[in-house]
């Protein structure tokens, strides 16, 4: 009797992340080209979307007139100061909550209560508290980055391998050493992942912060263009924010690569 011989069918493919570098870029390009084609042929009416090439031209004008940096620099400094304040406070408070059960018990409900508040709604309040100038803008961005950073940090501290802490204690390491050499590095992946989200929120809040009392700034620029229905300028501003987002995420990616090179 002849038994039929058959190759075993492969069925183990997919479900594994593979880096494909240029796919994201190509999707982006195809979308842009489609919009350009649509607006040129009239399939997309000029009231719906501006022509990408017009947006590019607006951007070039913005650059050559020197206005780009006049808007960009104040925004960047607001972003830097506000996010640095919010993130460092957030990491500090998150660590305390992760390390001390009393502080955690006291603050978890408070954080849960302030997390869902749309911070934009508090802008008038911040104007009263911190002044219409830079103060209120820093405060809004800082407050917005603070809560997600706190939550990410104390969750990251919780996730530190307890056996490593036990190990530290069993070798007689001091409390401070355990925090500095075991808890902090162990929580670093979670903290950085949290920062990714917090900094994106900071960029979102930048526009809100510049709603009141800002002559210059990317947010102010976008809001002004929006109120005039100047879609080219609106989109030029939006593109700047997107690029900012991509840059921030790239910076965090680079930090992760350096600081977390022990993972992989």
């Amino acid at each position: 009797m002849d038994n039929p011989v058959k190759k075993v069918v492969f069925r183990g493919g997919g479900f594994a992340p593979v880096t494909r570098r240029w796919v994201g870029f190509i999707v982006f390009l195809v979308l842009l080209l489609a919009v350009e084609w649509g607006t040129r042929t009239g399939v997309i009416s000029p009231l719906t979307l501006p022509k990408p090439s017009d947006v590019l031209q607006t951007f070039a004008e913005l650059y050559s007139s020197g206005l780009l940096f006049q808007h960009l620099l104040p925004s960047l400094s607001r972003l830097a100061v506000g996010a640095a304040l919010g993130a460092s406070l957030g990491i500090g408070v998150g660590l305390l909550m992760g390390l001390f059960s009393f502080i955690r018990a006291g603050l978890v409900p408070l954080v849960a209560a302030i997390f869902p508040i749309p911070k934009i709604a508090l802008l008038p309040l911040f104007v009263i508290w911190f002044g219409i100038d830079e103060g209120s803008k820093y405060a809004l961005i800082a407050f917005g980055t603070f809560t997600p950073t706190v939550v990410a940090t104390y969750a990251a501290v919780d996730n530190v391998d307890r056996t490593l802490i036990r190990m530290g204690q069993s070798f007689g390491l001091s409390w401070l050493s355990i925090v500095r050499k075991i808890v902090l590095p162990g929580a670093m992946p979670g903290i950085l992942a949290g920062l990714r989200i917090s900094l994106a929120i900071a960029i979102i809040l930048l526009v809100a912060a510049e709603m009141l009392g800002a002559e210059y700034g990317i947010g102010a620029y976008i809001l002004e263009a929006g109120s005039l229905y100047d879609l080219e300028r609106l989109f030029a501003g939006v593109v700047i924010l997107s690029v900012l987002g991509v840059l921030v995420s790239a910076v965090i990616g680079a930090i992760e690569k350096r600081v977390l090179n022990w993972r992989s």
Partner: protein, 255 residues
């Protein structure tokens, strides 16, 4: 330095885990503790190292730890407990830093201990680059560098495959024959117990009580894989444990 356990008993809530444990850990010997899983071996070891307090009885330290001993009671864990963000040398240095050993002194001590554990070529490797057996050797190096008076090992070889386990047992034996150390070695593997133990304490199932203490006279360096007389001892231990293990296995978890 010796350890002496007197009437140690412990419960977690309503669950009695250990009862009336009397054990002596004489200096310069390896005492193996065997028993069915869940009988309280790890708990007992945590108490010996001061990571947990017994409800009843006491754990006594007899005599002074030697002068150059940085951490008298030192653990080796089953899952290695290496910091993944530190290199091999960095993991060893971690436990020196807090005892004020720094600079050239620390470097010399680390170099020496890595040589003794045959890890010199891997000083700059990260844990993720090492095999399980190598990781455990790093953990052994980290324990040796503080000159412990008593080493407390909780199933140090259980996460390794059987070939690696044999190799590491040989390593431990040669480390001990060069400089005898005091150790408590918890295991559920009877072959490890008869290879490494000068004395083997057999615990009953939970609540753990001492069933029997077996003393092996044959010197460590004379014992080898598959020795007939060790097989006999191992068989005797297995007969002691068999009923206990079967009963422990049939218990409901969390019951």
């Amino acid at each position: 330095m010796e350890l002496r356990l007197r009437g140690v008993g412990h419960s977690y809530g309503a669950r009695a885990v250990l009862r009336g444990i009397d054990i002596d850990i004489p200096a310069g010997q390896i005492v193996c503790i065997v028993g069915p899983s869940g009988c309280g071996k790890s708990t007992l070891l945590r108490m010996m190292g001061g990571l947990e307090e017994p409800d009843l009885g006491e754990v006594l330290q007899v005599g002074q730890a030697p002068e150059d001993c940085l951490n008298p009671l030192t653990y080796i864990f089953q899952d290695f407990a290496l910091l993944p963000w530190r290199t091999v040398a960095g993991n060893v240095s971690l436990v020196l830093e807090d005892h004020g050993v720094k600079g050239a002194d620390a470097r010399a001590m680390i170099e020496d201990v890595l040589k003794r554990t045959r890890l010199s070529d891997f000083a700059d490797a990260l844990p993720r680059q090492l095999s399980g057996g190598m990781k455990q050797r790093v953990a052994i190096a980290r324990a040796l560098v503080v000159n412990p008076a008593v080493m407390l090992m909780d199933e140090p070889l259980s996460a390794l495959d059987s070939q690696t386990r044999e190799l590491l047992m040989d390593d431990l034996i040669s480390l001990w024959t060069r400089t005898p150390f005091t150790a408590v070695y918890v295991t559920h593997n009877l072959a490890e117990a008869v290879r490494l133990g000068h004395r083997i304490v057999v615990l009953s199932r939970r609540p753990g009580e001492v069933r029997e203490v077996v003393t092996l006279e044959k010197p460590l360096e004379a014992r080898a894989y598959g020795d007939a007389d060790l097989e006999v001892q191992q068989k005797h231990l297995w007969e002691l444990m068999r009923a206990e293990a079967a009963a422990a296995d049939a218990e409901l978890i969390g019951g």
